[in-house]
């Protein structure tokens, strides 16, 4: 299946290679570099590149290309999904997945890759098992290791691989037993020129951080489970129970994990929490253009809209922008033509606005394309779909855990066309 893996940084250098079968020369990456050169944007590199003897499947995360070398037929998604899992594992281990972090921990990286694949077929990808095999590096442990000469590799044998519940290790102990659940919803929307919604849908996830002693068995129920149109589960969730009773019943993994992701369909009406008034115009013959933006809250259920960030890719003909924001700060990059305005919180009494003029390059004709406006925002303590957790129960353990549920709404891919 997966023959080799090359890690390529943003400047096009291979800084790590790993082979699971016989060694493939790194010159195979030349085909990848060719494709990289052809692509105008980094994300435009085709994920699958055929070469005379191999196939290169790559993913781009954190400005690192993970290039897997394949020799024969394999479902491409299989490889892509695995590569993303590798990145997630690195992130889990080192906090960030950057070139520096990987280089600093090259031994751990190597050990991880060795355990994750056997002869190119995934072996242990569950973070719980991996952590039992290879302890994640911490500052304290690094210090201790250098002094005592001990290592990161777990001394015990990894019994997790044999367990019926492979995602949870046995013998977990905490002094404070806590279970936190974050319900995070993202609104994906396209708003047209006149302010009407072209398409809007809600994608939600429930991320959990569970630190409970022993083998707890949790059930989570919703007030209105019918809202969830399409769901995908962490493998720990008992599917039958959900089918029958719409209750999430599971033995949680230890630590952070994504319990559930769901989708609230576009058939339901989606509340759009902000509106944008815009007036962007260029006059024929003049080298100046007008630019006005005003943001306002709409259907926020009384909650404040925070961390608002507006960005827009202005037409290529624009030379500079001379704007004045009523609040927050704005930047305009004359090279990439990217305008971004960090608004902060929207005050309903005094709506934030950004007004001024943009200057065009001399001699450039009036651009006929209109920039789209991307908006990011957060609303705390609100799940915009109206989803509510009813209760969380624990079985199988005697202690009383501390339970917490947090709701948040964010903008996903929220675009306003002008």
């Amino acid at each position: 299946m997966i023959h080799s893996l090359f890690l390529v940084n943003a400047s096009g250098d291979i800084f790590l290679e790993k082979h699971w079968k016989s060694v493939v020369s790194r010159s195979v990456c030349d085909y990848f570099f060719e494709a990289l050169e052809r692509a105008t944007e980094p994300e435009n590199v085709p994920p699958v590149i055929p070469t005379p003897h191999h196939f290169l499947i790559n993913v781009l995360r954190h400005r690192i290309y993970f290039v897997a070398v394949i020799q024969s037929e394999v479902p491409p998604l299989f490889v892509i999904e695995f590569l993303h899992r590798v990145v997630d594992t690195f992130q889990d281990y080192f906090g960030v997945c950057s070139e520096a972090a990987i280089k600093d921990n090259v031994v751990v990286v190597y050990e991880l890759l060795e355990e994750m694949l056997d002869n190119g077929f995934p072996l242990a990808t569950e973070s719980n098992i991996l952590k039992e095999l290879i302890k994640p590096p911490t500052i304290l442990r690094t210090v201790v290791n250098t002094i005592t000469g001990s290592t990161n590799v777990g001394e015990q044998l990894p019994t997790g691989q044999l367990s019926v519940v492979p995602w949870r290790r046995t013998g977990v102990k905490y002094t404070n037993n806590e279970a936190y659940f974050d319900v995070v919803e993202e609104i994906d929307a396209i708003i047209d020129k006149s302010g009407s919604t072209i398409t809007a849908e809600i994608q939600g996830v429930i991320d959990a951080c569970v630190k409970l002693t022993g083998m707890p068995d949790l059930t989570l129920s919703f007030m209105n489970p019918r809202l969830l149109d399409d769901v995908s589960f962490h493998p720990c969730v008992r599917f039958k129970r959900w089918e029958a009773e719409r209750i999430l019943s599971f033995i949680p993994p230890d630590g952070n994990f994504r319990l559930l992701s769901y989708h609230v369909s576009s058939q339901n009406l989606v509340a759009i929490p902000v509106y944008v008034k815009h007036n962007i115009s260029f006059r024929e013959g003049s080298s100046q253009g007008r630019f006005e933006l005003t943001l306002g809250p709409k259907q926020t259920m009384g909650k404040a809209v925070e961390s608002v960030l507006v960005s827009s890719q202005l037409p290529r003909g624009v030379l500079n922008a001379n704007l004045s924001p009523s609040q927050g700060t704005y930047t305009f990059d004359p090279v990439t033509k990217l305008l971004s305005w960090d608004v902060g919180k929207i005050n309903p009494q005094k709506l934030p606005s950004l007004k001024g003029s943009v200057s065009l390059q001399t001699g450039a004709s009036k651009p006929d394309e209109n920039p789209t406006i991307n908006i990011q925002f957060k609303i705390q303590q609100l799940a915009i779909s109206g989803l509510k957790v009813n209760r969380l129960d624990m079985y199988g353990e005697k202690y009383k855990p501390f339970k917490g549920i947090k709701y948040m709404t964010k903008a996903g891919k929220f675009q306003v066309r002008t």
């Binding site: 435009n44 994920p47 024969s72 479902p75 019926v164 083998m215 599917f239």
Partner: protein, 988 residues
């Protein structure tokens, strides 16, 4: 410098800590530096105690063994030792490294190790063996035949851990050996949901191929329809409906399609996996449904695929490719999700273009207006490649949907005045294609375009305009010569493609309007004659011969006009994804639209039904623990063969159950018997039904079989055979036997009663060999519940031989044990001589590996051999453990969740007090009582004999005879079986 570096390292190694030294290797290997010089120094450390050093040595070894074969061999013995380690994890890791060393010399060693590991008792080691198979196969393909044997064996494995890996090995080594799958098909379907996610992908893809060869096309009745409706794809709905009705009428006469229950099983068991978090699994299920499901059911995959579009852009890319192919065949399925394919300005270009493809495929009369409005905004995008693709998409919509053709054309003409040249050029190309469909009505557009030629510089667009004018020069008789005049002026500076079209235009004008253009044409042809490009020179010479009449010109020139101005069919604008579905969706080959190495073709549906009975599994009565199977050698020969689970055979034995039975059987056996009778009657009924329905019935029954549920009919049959033979014996001897038996039982009870742990209840004797089958030798056994001293991991089985013949029996011993993987037997010492009429008792040990699988072996005397088998009730697989109340609670806390099985029950009438409950439970299972403060609760503890897993049983009683039975055990199967048995014991 590199060598210097290594040498330095080497010297460093002499003095420094080994660990420190080894840390440098991954750095070197990771950067692709050659560190093979250090091989000897590193390999020395292979036996190092430090686990991390060991692991790093492994990494190093596997990386460089190929280059330093001789030295690598030094390390082999370490791994061979590891293969024998009592710890399963060490065995597994030794096998893993050993099989990764790519040195041909050790192939025989690897082969041996794989074979051994394939029958290891630990499923984890067996999984590793499955992983090792493709490694060995790539190292030495000649081992294929032997490896297939191992694969066959591992395919029969019942654990989820092994399933994914062995199917992967199957796919790499022998993907064409579909016959190996038959017997395991149902098991794989049933295990699927519990297999780890990567294994699921492999299994689903394999099963898709399998199903294509074994089942009939569920859409067989519609495939004809499809063909006809495809032609009428964009025709109005009414027409289509009529077509359908007509087709349906003819189809009604044909045989109705009935889906094979196994086909249904596959579809049903894969459906929940659409909810997986793993995109590859979702895609695998989606392609399975696309290729195998009836048309009406395919729709369910759309939602899951649309969900994947939220994922990383690489995932999106692959999913959209597949959706694009699906939308061509099954447009309706994605129509409700149209808006999910709308394009955002932040999407990468490749995603935008794929979404555009999908939107175009989804366009129909009803949604075209919204789609076109969407396209209009796309045209204003800053991404020019995307704009070009959008214009082409509009063109495709216009050709496919007649009603909007004019609107589209007008829109495109407006684009001609766009400031961006690329947009204009693309529009020209698309307009050219559209105009070809109905040129008469659009002469003004042609005129407009003729004017554009002065401004447009893009060669393709210029060429398109010239072609248009040439083709329809009769519609624009005044402008055409003028354009040619202009072009002749710039001829030398044009691109090749434009030059060819100028020649083309000249030729056409010469034929239609030679008066005005004769000289011009000559001029152009002369220019072309001396062009640098030979294509253009050739073309010019060819055309001159064809159109300019000379005395030498051949017969062809008469037809010149027909040649040039023939009516040309309008181009068909179709998706590049059309017909891509002959590749299995989700595969690499599909994505690249070219066959990748190792791609297995998706077979066509078979014409007629292949034999569905090949998937029937020969059921071993694995759980009928209560009963000893009574088989002599003759019977086992004729019996097991003919019994092989074909449904009609089984029901045939129904009449036997009416025969009178003996009374000596215990109560619970009688109950079972009742059930069996009922079951048989049902089967008799099913026999009368049509074969198709019968197989549906079978599907209902059989899926469980592979998960160890016993097959009732077969059990019954065996039982009856025992009855029959028994009846043949005379009444008298029956009585004697009973008396003797009673005496013997008492004797045993007395002996065992002295033991500390033995329960107060009596010990049940099981028959191993009946006196008649054994030709006078009667053998009985019981589980004495004593620890088996030579090996604490074995269950002690006490066997009693009674010689009922008139002569002596000699050399009683065991031969040829046929055991499930991992099981072991410690035989009793041979009984040299047994005089007539005497009984001898011996004890043997069997390690059942904590399973209720039977241990089969031959019992030999000096004259005869008897095939016998011992099957333990689950309760005998454990030994008591003494726990305090606190310990019990602590241990129970660790065995929660999936390890806990709980059932409610009503206590039987006789279970009046705690004492009876304790007695019943301890009689059923070899457990000890755990002290408990409450009177209302009884607790028991034990551990399994071979692996030492704790088994905890709790029985709290409530008012009115209600009780709850809870069993906690890490081995879920043991737990489930135990619950069943205790329930039965308590509810009597």
């Amino acid at each position: 410098a590199q060598v210097l570096f290594s040498v330095k390292l080497y010297t460093v190694h002499q003095y420094l800590n080994v660990t420190l030294f080894l840390y440098v290797f991954p750095q070197m290997i990771a950067r692709g530096k050659n560190a093979s010089d250090l091989f000897p120094a590193v390999v020395k450390n292979v036996a190092c105690k430090n686990i991390e050093v060991k692991k790093l040595v492994y990494v190093y070894l596997v990386r460089y063994a190929e280059e330093q074969q001789d030295l690598a061999l030094l390390s082999i013995s370490t791994f061979q030792r590891g293969l024998k380690d009592p710890n399963q994890l060490i065995r597994a890791s030794a096998l893993r490294v050993l099989s990764s060393i790519r040195v041909t010399i050790i192939v025989p060693i690897m082969m041996l190790a794989i074979k051994e590991a394939a029958s290891d008792m630990s499923p984890y080691v067996r999984k590793t063996a499955a992983h090792a198979i493709p490694k060995l196969h790539s190292l030495d393909p000649e081992q294929k035949d032997q490896l297939i044997e191992v694969i066959e064996k591992l395919l029969a494995d019942k654990t989820t851990l092994v399933a994914g890996s062995v199917v992967m090995a199957f796919e790499e080594v022998c993907p064409d050996r579909i016959d190996l799958i038959h017997k395991n098909y149902r098991k794989l379907c049933n295990l699927l949901i519990d297999v780890e996610e990567w294994g699921q992908v492999v299994i689903i893809n394999m099963l898709t191929r399998y199903a294509r060869t074994q089942f009939l096309n569920p859409n067989i009745n519609e495939s004809l329809l499809e063909e006809s409706s495809e032609k009428a794809f964009y025709a109005s709905d009414d027409e289509e409906d009529e077509d359908k009705k007509a087709e349906a009428a003819t189809l009604a006469k044909r045989k109705p399609y009935v889906m094979d229950p196994d086909h249904r099983l596959l579809l049903r068991n894969t459906k929940p996996l659409l909810q997986s978090r793993n995109a590859a699994v979702v895609m695998a299920v989606a392609q399975l449904y696309f290729h195998l499901a009836p048309k009406a059911e395919v729709g369910i995959i759309a939602k899951a695929l649309v969900r994947l579009m939220r994922s990383h852009s690489e995932v999106q890319y692959v999913v959209l490719q597949n959706v694009a192919t699906m939308t061509i065949k099954r447009r309706g399925m994605f129509e409700p999700y149209l808006k999910s394919f709308y394009i955002r300005s932040t999407d990468p270009t490749q995603i935008k273009i794929l979404k555009l493809e999908v939107l175009t495929n989804l366009a129909n009369e009803t949604n075209i207006s919204t789609i076109l409005r969407e396209f209009q905004t796309y045209i204003k995008s800053m991404d020019k490649d995307f704009v070009a693709a959008s214009i082409q998409a509009i063109g495709r919509c216009a050709t496919n949907i007649g009603e909007v053709r004019d609107t589209c054309l007008n829109g495109l003409v407006q684009l001609l005045s766009n400031r961006d040249e690329l947009v204009v050029a693309e529009s020209v190309v698309v307009i050219k294609k559209l105009l070809q469909m109905q040129p008469e009505q659009h002469s003004d557009i042609i005129k407009h375009m003729a004017k554009l030629i002065d401004n447009i510089q893009v060669p393709m667009a210029r060429a398109s305009i010239l072609w248009l004018i040439g083709e329809y020069c009769e519609h624009v008789p005044k402008i055409a010569p003028d354009v040619l005049r202009n072009m002749a002026k710039t001829f030398t500076n044009e691109e090749d493609i434009v030059k060819l079209q100028i020649i083309n235009l000249a030729a056409k004008l010469y034929l239609t309007n030679s008066k005005q253009t004769k000289l011009l044409t000559q001029y152009v042809l002369n220019l072309a004659k001396y062009d640098q490009n030979y294509d253009i020179r050739d073309r010019a010479r060819f055309i001159r011969q064809l159109i300019v009449p000379t005395d030498k010109s051949g017969a062809l020139s008469k037809y010149a006009k027909k040649l040039f101005l023939a009516l040309k069919p309008a181009p068909v604008l179709q998706s590049t994804f059309k017909d891509r579905d002959h590749f299995q969706l989700g595969s690499l080959s599909h994505l690249l639209n070219a066959k990748a190495a190792g791609y297995q073709e998706l077979p066509d549906w078979p014409e007629s039904v292949p034999d569905p009975s090949v998937r029937n599994v020969e059921v071993k009565d694995s759980v009928c623990a209560r009963r000893t199977v009574l088989t002599g050698p003759e019977e086992s020969d004729s019996g097991s063969g003919s019994e092989s689970a074909s449904a009609s055979d089984e029901s045939g034995s129904g009449s036997e159950s009416e025969e009178s039975r003996e009374e000596t059987e215990s109560e619970d056996e009688e109950e079972d018997e009742e059930k069996e009778k009922k079951r048989k009657k049902r089967l008799d009924k099913t026999k009368a039904k049509k074969p198709a329905e019968e197989s549906a019935e079978r599907c209902l029954v059989l899926p469980n079989v592979s998960c160890s549920a016993p097959s009732f009919p077969q059990r019954a049959e065996q039982w009856h055979r025992g009855q029959k033979t028994r009846q043949e014996g005379s009444e008298e001897s029956e009585k004697c036997l009973r008396i003797r038996e009673r005496i013997r039982k008492q004797r045993i009870r007395g002996r065992v009663g002295g033991g500390t742990i033995a329960p107060s209840g009596s010990i049940k004797m099981y028959e191993l060999l009946h006196r008649i089958t054994g030709e006078g030798l009667a053998v009985e056994y019981c589980f004495s519940r004593q620890p088996f001293s030579p090996d604490p991991n074995m269950v002690a089985v006490q066997i009693q031989f009674t010689n009922n013949t008139n002569s002596e029996t000699k050399n009683l011993h065991i031969e040829e044990p046929r055991l499930q993987s991992g099981m072991r037997i410690r035989e009793f010492t041979e009984i040299g001589l047994q005089p007539s009429g005497e009984s001898v008792t011996v004890v043997m040990g069997i390690d059942f590996c904590d399973s209720t699988q039977a241990a089969n072996f031959q019992l030999c005397t000096h004259t005869r051999k008897f095939f016998v088998s011992i099957q333990p009730p689950v309760g005998e697989l454990m030994t008591p453990v003494f726990l305090t109340e606190n310990d019990f609670k602590k241990e129970q806390g660790k065995l929660m969740g999936m390890n806990e099985i709980s059932e409610k029950l009503m206590l039987g009438e006789k279970c009046v007090n705690e004492h009876v409950i304790v007695e019943r439970v301890t009689a059923t299972a070899n457990l000890s009582r755990v002290p408990c403060g409450s009177e209302k609760e009884c607790r028991f503890a034990g551990k399994t004999v071979s692996s030492g897993c704790l088994v905890l049983v709790t029985v709290p009683t409530k008012e009115g005879g209600a009780a709850q039975l809870t069993v906690n055990c890490e081995k879920m199967l043991i737990g489930t079986l135990l619950v069943k048995d205790i329930m039965q014991a308590l509810s009597q």
